[in-house]
């Protein structure tokens, strides 16, 4: 187990394409870090550079304090789970898991190999399948074999390259918790690449959001969610995604297409001389005024709902609005960056499933303007970003991580003795 340090890592392909533009990241020993971003953001390239399958054009990569830029993959002692699992089809499950051990000639006796493989198989509940060939296994079982091959050799770190993207939704949820459990129990440094923000939020101790080869923000899931550093991170994290509305500053009020919001002094100071901003509101920040009493500071609005989706736990209501042509371009560009389709402009509102709002209704809603985020329309920078709050959330998160690692170790110790 070891810490991994990336310093100004650059990847330029042979054809001149700059895939990773100077990424620096410190991954602590035992930490679970997610690299997330839309397709083509360089996250997989970054992972492959860490494991040694891609050359590093520039920058320093060290694992456990040693610079490993020029080391071959096998000398980096990392374990990787590939997107398509990369199981050896001609070997049984047992031999697949034993493969890394057998490569270290003479390091283990046959007895030790059997013991280690059986331990890994037990951890992943593969005991009954050891003599089968990968072709006869289900997707989830193949996934577990790939993980078995990773954990059997006590590597310095685990690297996952979109390991769940080939599984169906239900299995994905199960395997996600399985990976989280395994990582906690083994306490191994883990780097996990995904384009799925749900995986990123649920698995990561810290999440690094990438866009076009550049690191946007590294923070705890909660830090990212509550205090995104810019428009891109705000739009990427959260499902359904954050609503972006054009906001025109008019004296003491901020005019949104759906409602006017009074400006506080603090907000006014942050806005500076800007006349036009992009306002971000998460779907769950809205409440149904019929179900809960608006708070003192709340802004109340009555809007036409054109479609509703009842999900059992929530009710999503869609409110169409006319956007401001001055920010439409910026929002469209953002949508493209997020692999979106550039659909109509609408506000998504997540209400309590008890809500009586239905298609075609005029719904009375309210939200707390303090939760509103305001972005610069040019740079995309979050004007309401609070560095102190993020630092606090992250340090709290770090404490939680250490505590949970401790607990996992204590549990293991209790089990072993």
């Amino acid at each position: 187990m070891a810490a991994i340090t990336l310093k100004d890592i650059v990847k330029r392909y042979g054809d001149g394409y700059l895939a990773v533009k100077g990424v620096s990241l410190d991954i602590a020993d035992g930490e679970f870090v997610i690299l997330v971003g839309p397709s083509g953001c360089g996250k997989s390239t970054l992972l492959r550079m860490i494991v040694g399958l891609e050359d590093i054009t520039d920058g320093d990569l060290s694992i456990g304090g040693t610079r490993v830029n020029d080391k071959a993959p096998r000398d980096r002692h990392l374990a990787m789970v590939f997107q398509n699992y990369a199981l050896y089809p001609h070997l049984t499950v047992f031999e697949n898991i034993a493969f890394p051990l057998r490569l270290q000639k003479g390091a283990f006796t046959e007895e030790q190999i059997r013991e280690k493989v059986e331990f890994a198989a037990k951890t992943l509940e593969l005991q009954d399948h050891l003599q089968r060939k990968p072709a006869n296994l289900s997707g989830g079982q193949r996934q577990r074999v790939a993980m078995g091959r990773a954990i059997v050799r006590e590597a310095q770190a685990f690297l996952f390259d979109e390991p769940l993207s080939n599984l169906d939704a239900k299995l994905r949820g199960q395997m996600r918790t399985e990976i989280a459990r395994m990582q906690r129990r083994l306490g191994t440094t883990t780097v996990y690449v995904t384009h799925d923000q749900t995986e990123a939020m649920t698995l990561g101790d810290r999440v690094a959001v990438l866009r076009k080869g550049e690191l946007q923000q590294v923070a705890s899931p909660r830090g990212l969610y509550e205090h995104p550093v810019n428009l891109f991170v705000a739009g990427f994290i959260g499902s359904p995604p954050m609503n972006f509305l054009p906001g025109e500053v008019d004296g003491d009020v901020l005019r949104l297409p759906v409602v006017d919001v009074p400006l506080t002094d603090l907000l006014k100071a942050r806005l500076g001389t800007r006349k036009l901003v992009i306002v971000g509101l998460r779907p769950e920040h809205f409440e149904d005024a019929d179900l809960s009493e608006p708070t003192k500071e709340a802004v109340t609005l009555t809007v036409p709902v054109d479609v509703t989706e009842w999900l059992g736990s929530d009710l999503y209501a869609y409110v169409p609005f006319e956007t401001n042509p001055d920010v439409a371009g910026k929002l469209e560009e953002l949508d493209r960056d997020l692999d979106g389709e550039g659909m109509r402009t609408q506000l998504v509102v997540a209400l309590d499933s008890e809500s009586k709002v239905r298609d075609g209704d005029e719904a009375k809603l309210w939200f707390d303007p303090n939760k509103m985020m305001v972005f610069d329309p040019e740079s995309g920078e979050n004007l309401t970003y609070d560095q102190e709050a993020v630092r606090e959330i992250d340090s709290q998160n770090e404490q939680n991580r250490k505590a949970s690692l401790e607990r996992a170790r204590a549990r293991e110790g209790a089990k072993a003795s």
């Binding site: 096998r74 990392l78 374990a79 590939f82 990369a86 050896y88 001609h90 490569l103 072709a135």
Partner: protein, 280 residues
Amino acid sequence: MRAMSTKLKVWWAVITVLVLVYALLPVLSIIATSFKLPSQLNLGTFWPKTWTTTNYEQILTGSAKDLFLPALRNSIGISLISTAIAVVLATLAAYAIARLDFRGKRLVLTTALGVSIFPVISIVTPLFNLWRNIGLYDTWLGLIIPYLSLTLPISIWTLAAFFRQIPWELEQAAQVDGATPWQAFRKAIVPLAAPGVFTTALIAFFIAWNDFVYGISLTSTSAARPVPAALAFFTGASQFEEPTGAISAAAVVVTIPVVILVLLFQRQIVSGLTQGAVKG
């Protein structure tokens, strides 16, 4: 697949029988001829009037023994050696072509294709002169080299297509698991490529085994003459007798190894040829 209707089944059966008859009748005819007495060759019957093994005795122990047995030895030796060399070289070349991005990759492939479509007959005469000058004429090596020019291109093309289908991740996974590039190749790629290599080897062997033009042009004695060429030198017992019976017997003898090879390895051949169609 849905069950075929009876009518469709009958049609398929008829077509299959037609194709089988078309393909196997000449073979059957040769087998039948090989059991005929030399004097009864022109009777015009399909089956021999009296079954005899005279022709086989003639080529294996009789008068044609000195012509046929060395030729058989030459054919087996030359074909095996050129197959082995072709497969080893083609495996390495195809692996490089499938995996690496190097300058001249397209050149190698197009050259290989060019060589394989070049008419054999047009190089045989210059080769004959050259071989005589440098002393390769009528030697095993003198045949192995031109055979490589026939077997290498097709081997490189088939194997390259085959290697491309093996996911590169397997090799990368092996490297991350602690393998050297050579170990990754040997432990992860070669076992998977085996059916493909096998199919290629068989195809290469048949090409060398069946060659006639080089065999007859570049040899003059039994030192290197392969069977297809040697058949042309068979003579009857007297100048009034045709050697057809002996030639048929020899043809049957050289067909047997091919048939045995195909029957033994038909599963591997089929899996090798269909690997691309069905992704595992």
